[in-house]
C-alpha cells in the first residue's frame, strides 16, 4: 500500500512505524512543514494503561520511550497556603521533543521516508496514494480541504504553556488568589532537568489582570511573581509560548474516501486531563490493527479498515471528550469552590472529570481517603470514619442519620420523601394523588430509623392526568378532570387542558392551603418539609419566563415560602425543590437558578432539592448517570446553600463521590428493585 502522511507528530509517526512493521512492503512518506527539531510544548504525560498499549504495539519504541521517562505517583494541590498530597496515580512523562526524536529514528530504521520543511498548502500537491493520513493537528490543512462535518468550539480557560528548570517530584496544581480572580497552574516534571508549567484563568480574569495586553516578557514576569512559592527561585521558560484558548474539535466523519483523520485533527481532549498524545497514539494502534484485520488489497478493504477504526475509537474518544469538557469547565469555575475545606477541595478537584470516583481514590491512596472521610464526618481526631453516605447530617435541629434519600421503603435510608401530597383537591396530579398529610405512616418511618419529609405540591397545569403507570401528562377524560390553574393560561402538553391564569383571590387561597398543609405536617410528626417549586408545577410556573410574563417572578413563590416558614416549626428544616434550569430556549438558565436558590435560602429555606427541566413539555434535557450533579455543585457553591440531588445516581460509590467532593449534602439513590 502506498501511504501519504501529512504531519510528523506522534500520531503520524507512530502509525507509520506500526504499518511498516506489519508489512515492510508499504511505501510510506511523511510530509512535515517544520524542521525535525522544531516543536511546541514541553512534556507529554502517559498513564500505566497507555504504556501497556505501547508495549504491545511496538516493543522497540516502548523501550526507548520508557528509558527516558520521568516517573512519579503523587498529585500535589497547593490551595490556601496548604499543600495536600494524594498518591498512587502512576504517571510517566517524556519531553515531547525527545518523544518525536525516538519516533523519527524508529521510522528511519524501518524505511519510512521523512520529508521535513515541506509545506503542503494544497492537498492536490500530495503524491497519489492508496491511503492519505491527515495527522496534521488541530488546524489540519487536509481536513479543511474536505467535508468531515468539523466543529471547533473553544473550551475552558485562557492558558499558556511554559517550561521551568525546577524539577518537580509530583504533578502539581497550584491556585493563587489575585484581586482579579483565581489563577492556577498545572505543572509536572518530564525529564531530569525540566518541568512543564501551564498557567490558566478564565477569560474575564485574564483581561482584568491585563494579560491580554502584556508582552511575552511581561507575561512571564507576572506569572513568575504570582507563583514564586512554587518556582522556588527558578524561572519560567518560553517556547514561542502564547496565551490561547483550547479548542474542542469534533468531526461527524473521520474518513472520506481514502483520507483519514488521526489524532488532534480528528478530536481534541483538554490539557487539564492530558490525553491528547495518548489518544493520538492509540488511534495509530487502532488504525494499524484495522489493516491487519481487513487487509489493504483493494479500495473496499481500505474503506472497511477506516470504518472499523472509527467504530472502535469513537466511543472511547467520546468518553474522553466528555471528561475533558467536565474538567475544562471545572477549572473555569473553580473560583466558586474556594469556600470548601482544603481536603474536600482536593477531592472535588481529583474527581472533576468523572473518571475517578471515591472508591478509585481509596484504592490509589487509602490514607488520603481515610483522612478525607474523617474531615467529612467532622471528627478529624478519630481513627476511622464511616463512608460519606453513612455520615449523619445535621440540618438545623434535625439529625439525618445518613445521606441516602428514598421515596418508598425506608429501610436503610436516612430520609424518606413522601410521594407528592397535594395541598388541595384541585392541586392533585392524578385522581390517586393524596390530599393532605393526615394518613401518612410517619411512625413506621421513624421505627425504621429514618426521618420523614412531607412533599407538598400543587400540580398547576400538570394536574388532572392519568396515574404515571400509563405515562405522564396524559390528560384525564373531560368528565373526570377538574379545572387547572397556572401562572398563565397556556396548556402544558399536547391535548392538555388550558389552565386558568391565577388571580389574586386564587393566589391567596393557594398560599393559605400551603400554610395549613405545613401546619398539619408538623402536627403529623414530619421532620422535614419540602415545597415543590419544580418541573412545571404551579409554583414553578411562576419562576420561568416561558410560563410567567410578569417581571417579578419570585414574588408569589417567596410569599408561599414565608407563609410555610411561619406555619412550620422554626427548628425543623424546610427544603425547596427547585428547577434550576429550564433546559429550553428562552427559559430560565442556571444563572437564574443560582439567583432563585439564593433568594429562597435568605427567605428561610434550609436546603435546595436540585431539579432541572420539565418546565415545558418539549425541552432539551441531557440525560446520563448523575445528570444533575454538576448543577447541584453550582447551586451549592454559588448560592452557598446545602443541596439534595438525584439525577440517576445508581451506586453508593457515585453517592460517596458526590458527597465527599462537596457537590451535594444528600442524595436520592435510584435502585431498580
Amino acid at each position: 500500500m502506498k501511504v501519504c502522511v501529512l504531519g510528523a507528530g506522534p500520531a503520524g509517526l507512530y502509525l507509520s512505524i506500526l504499518l511498516k512493521r506489519a508489512d515492510p512492503a508499504h511505501e510510506i512518506e511523511i510530509f512535515e512543514r517544520n524542521a525535525p527539531g522544531a516543536t511546541f510544548g514541553w512534556g507529554v504525560v502517559f498513564s500505566e494503561e497507555t504504556l501497556g498499549e505501547l508495549r504491545d504495539a511496538d516493543y522497540a519504541t516502548f523501550l526507548r520511550i520508557t528509558d527516558t521517562f520521568a516517573r512519579w505517583d503523587a498529585i500535589d494541590i497547593r490551595y490556601r497556603g496548604e499543600v495536600l498530597r494524594s498518591r498512587g496515580h502512576g504517571f510517566s512523562a517524556i519531553a515531547r521533543k525527545k518523544l518525536l526524536a525516538i519516533l523519527q529514528e524508529r521510522c528511519r530504521e524501518l524505511g519510512v521516508v521523512l520529508r521535513f520543511e515541506t509545506s503542503i498548502e494544497d492537498p492536490a500537491e500530495l503524491p497519489e496514494a492508496d491511503l492519505v493520513v491527515a495527522s496534521d493537528g488541530v488546524n489540519s490543512v487536509l481536513r479543511r480541504s474536505r467535508d468531515f462535518g468539523t466543529r471547533s468550539t473553544p473550551q475552558g480557560c485562557k492558558y499558556i504553556w511554559y517550561g521551568t528548570d525546577l524539577v518537580l517530584d509530583a504533578f502539581r496544581f497550584s491556585f493563587a488568589e489575585t484581586e482579579h480572580g483565581l489563577i492556577q497552574t498545572h505543572s509536572y516534571p518530564f525529564d531530569e532537568h525540566t518541568s512543564t508549567v501551564i498557567v490558566e484563568c478564565p477569560e474575564p480574569t485574564w483581561r482584568a489582570a491585563g494579560l491580554d495586553r502584556m508582552s511575552d516578557e511581561e507575561s512571564i514576569a507576572f506569572c513568575e511573581d504570582l507563583f514564586a512559592r512554587d518556582l522556588e527561585g527558578h524561572s519560567l521558560l518560553s517556547n514561542k509560548s502564547a496565551w490561547l484558548s483550547f479548542p474542542r474539535i469534533r468531526n461527524r466523519r473521520w474518513s472520506d474516501g481514502n483520507v483519514v483523520l488521526l489524532g488532534d485533527s480528528a478530536h481534541t481532549a483538554h490539557f487539564s486531563i492530558g490525553s491528547g498524545t495518548k489518544l493520538a497514539m492509540e488511534d495509530a494502534v487502532s488504525l494499524a490493527n484495522a489493516f491487519v484485520r481487513h487487509g489493504h488489497h483493494d479500495r473496499a478493504a481500505i474503506r472497511a479498515a477506516l470504518v472499523h477504526y472509527e467504530l472502535e475509537r469513537r466511543p472511547m474518544v467520546d468518553r474522553f471528550q466528555q471528561a475533558a469538557a467536565d474538567s475544562a469547565g471545572y477549572f473555569e469555575r473553580v473560583r466558586h469552590h474556594t469556600g470548601l475545606p482544603p481536603r474536600q477541595f482536593a477531592v472535588n478537584l481529583l474527581t472533576r472529570s468523572g473518571r475517578i470516583s471515591h472508591a478509585n481514590l481509596a484504592l490509589r491512596d487509602p490514607e488520603f481517603v481515610r483522612r478525607a472521610d474523617l474531615d467529612f464526618a467532622g471528627e478529624p481526631d478519630r481513627l476511622f470514619a464511616p463512608p460519606p453516605f453513612l455520615t449523619p447530617l445535621q440540618l438545623g435541629k434535625a439529625l439525618i442519620p445518613n445521606r441516602l434519600v428514598v421515596t418508598g421503603d425506608p429501610r436503610g435510608a436516612g430520609l424518606v420523601r413522601t410521594a407528592p401530597i397535594a395541598v388541595s383537591e384541585d392541586g392533585r396530579i392524578t385522581p390517586e394523588t393524596q390530599v393532605g398529610v393526615a394518613s401518612y405512616p410517619v411512625d413506621a418511618v421513624h421505627e425504621a430509623g429514618a426521618l420523614a419529609m412531607a412533599c407538598l405540591t400543587h400540580a398547576g397545569r400538570r394536574g388532572a392526568t392519568r396515574p404515571a403507570r400509563f405515562g405522564v401528562d396524559v390528560p384525564l377524560p373531560p368528565d373526570e378532570a377538574w379545572p387547572l390553574l397556572s401562572a398563565s393560561a397556556v396548556s402544558y402538553g399536547p391535548l392538555s387542558q388550558v389552565p386558568k391564569a391565577a388571580d389574586e383571590a386564587d393566589l391567596k387561597r393557594i398560599r393559605d392551603h400551603f400554610a395549613s398543609a405545613a401546619a398539619e405536617a408538623a402536627t403529623a410528626g414530619f421532620d422535614l418539609l419540602e415545597l415543590d417549586f419544580a418541573q412545571g408545577r404551579l409554583l414553578a410556573s411562576f419562576l420561568s419566563p416561558l410560563t410567567n410574563p410578569a417581571e417579578d417572578r419570585l414574588r408569589f413563590p417567596l410569599e408561599v415560602l414565608s407563609a410555610c416558614r411561619e406555619a412550620w416549626p422554626e427548628e425543623r428544616p424546610l427544603v425547596v425543590r427547585l428547577t434550576v434550569t429550564d433546559w429550553a430556549p428562552r427559559g430560565a438558565t442556571i444563572e437564574d437558578g443560582v439567583a432563585y436558590a439564593r433568594a429562597f435560602a435568605e427567605a428561610g429555606a434550609s436546603m435546595i432539592h436540585v431539579e432541572a427541566g420539565q418546565t415545558v413539555a418539549e425541552t432539551r434535557p441531557v440525560y446520563r448517570r448523575g445528570f444533575l450533579t454538576a448543577l447541584s455543585d453550582r447551586i451549592r457553591a454559588e448560592a452557598a446553600v446545602p443541596t439534595l440531588v438525584g439525577g440517576h445516581l445508581t451506586s453508593t460509590d457515585e453517592v460517596n463521590t458526590v458527597l465527599a467532593a462537596g457537590r451535594a449534602d444528600l442524595c436520592l439513590l435510584d435502585v431498580e428493585a
Binding site: 392519568r466 403507570r469 405522564v472 440525560y623
Partner: protein, 266 residues
C-alpha cells in the same frame, strides 16, 4: 432476553408471498416477535400493511413496528392503523415510533420536518388518551426523544450499534424514566442487521438503504452480522447490557435466512 426477527419489508423485490411465508416460518421458530421498518421513499412495503399480512398467517409471535415514522401520518390515521393491526392480531401488537432520519420521506408525505418532534409527542399523547392497551416504544437519541419516551411510552427502541452503544442509551432511557417519575423501568429493545447466506449482497443492500447518510452507510454496512459467531456475540452482548428484546433484521430477502438464523439461535 427475547430475540425477534425482522420481516424484509424494506428490502427491494420482497413479494407478498415471501413476506407471508417469512412470517409463518418465524411463527414456528424460536422468535418472539416479527418486526418491520418504515421507509416511504424506497422500494418497500408499508409497515402496517406488512404486519396485517403477517397477522393473518401467524398465531403466536408479537408483531412490531421498530420503528414506524409517526409524523409521516396524521395522529388519527396513525391510531387507526395501529388499532387495525392490534385487532387483526388479537392484541399481539407493539407500536414503536420515532421521527426517522430521512428528510425526503417528509417531503414526499407533505409533512413538516421542522416540527417533527412536537408532532410525534402529540401523536403519542393522542394514542395514550384514546387507547391505553397498545404497547408503545419510542426511539431516538436526543434528550428530547428520551423525555418523550419516558413521558408517554412503555419502553425505548434503540436504533442499532454495538452493545456498548446500546448500554449508554439504556442508561439515558432509565435516567429519563426516573426523571419523569414513572414507576418500574422502561422496556428496552435493541436491533441489529444480519446476513448469513450472502453477506456481500446484504452489505450492498445496507449501503444502498442508508445511502442518504453519506459515508455513514459504510459504517452501518460494516456492522452487518455475517457469521454465526458474530450473531452469538452480539446477542450475548445485548443480553448482558439488560436488553429485553433484540430484533435481528434481515438484509437479504431469502427465506432460508429465517432457518439459518433459527439454527444459530437454537
Amino acid at each position: 432476553m427475547k430475540v425477534g426477527i425482522g420481516l424484509p419489508n424494506t428490502t427491494p423485490d420482497a413479494t407478498g408471498r415471501l413476506l407471508a411465508e417469512w412470517a409463518r416460518r418465524a411463527d414456528d421458530g424460536p422468535f418472539s416477535t416479527v418486526a418491520v421498518l418504515d421507509r416511504l421513499v424506497y422500494d418497500s412495503v408499508e409497515p402496517f400493511a406488512a404486519l396485517a399480512a403477517a397477522a393473518a398467517v401467524t398465531e403466536r409471535v408479537r408483531l412490531a413496528t421498530n420503528i414506524a415514522i409517526g409524523p409521516l401520518r396524521s395522529a388519527a390515521m396513525l391510531a387507526k392503523q395501529a388499532d387495525s393491526v392490534a385487532r387483526l392480531s388479537d392484541g399481539r401488537f407493539t407500536l414503536g415510533l420515532g421521527v426517522g432520519a430521512r428528510r425526503d420521506d417528509y417531503t414526499a408525505a407533505e409533512a413538516d420536518h421542522h416540527t417533527r418532534g412536537e408532532r410525534l409527542s402529540a401523536q403519542l399523547a393522542h394514542l395514550r388518551t384514546e387507547n391505553t392497551d397498545i404497547e408503545l416504544l419510542v426511539g431516538g437519541s436526543s434528550g428530547a426523544a428520551f423525555a418523550r419516551m419516558a413521558r408517554y411510552a412503555d419502553g425505548f427502541a434503540h436504533g442499532g450499534g454495538p452493545p456498548r452503544a446500546f448500554a449508554s442509551a439504556a442508561t439515558r432511557a432509565r435516567a429519563a424514566w426516573h426523571d419523569l417519575g414513572r414507576p418500574g423501568r422502561p422496556k428496552l429493545w435493541g436491533q441489529g442487521y444480519f446476513a448469513l447466506g450472502d453477506p456481500d449482497r446484504g452489505s450492498a443492500y445496507l449501503r444502498d438503504y442508508y445511502a442518504f447518510t453519506g459515508p455513514f452507510a459504510e459504517t452501518i454496512a460494516a456492522a452487518n452480522l455475517t457469521s454465526a459467531r458474530a450473531i452469538k456475540d452480539f446477542v450475548r452482548g445485548y443480553a448482558a447490557e439488560g436488553c429485553d428484546e433484540l430484533i435481528l433484521f434481515p438484509t437479504v430477502a431469502d427465506l432460508d435466512e429465517v432457518d439459518r438464523l433459527a439454527e444459530v439461535l437454537a
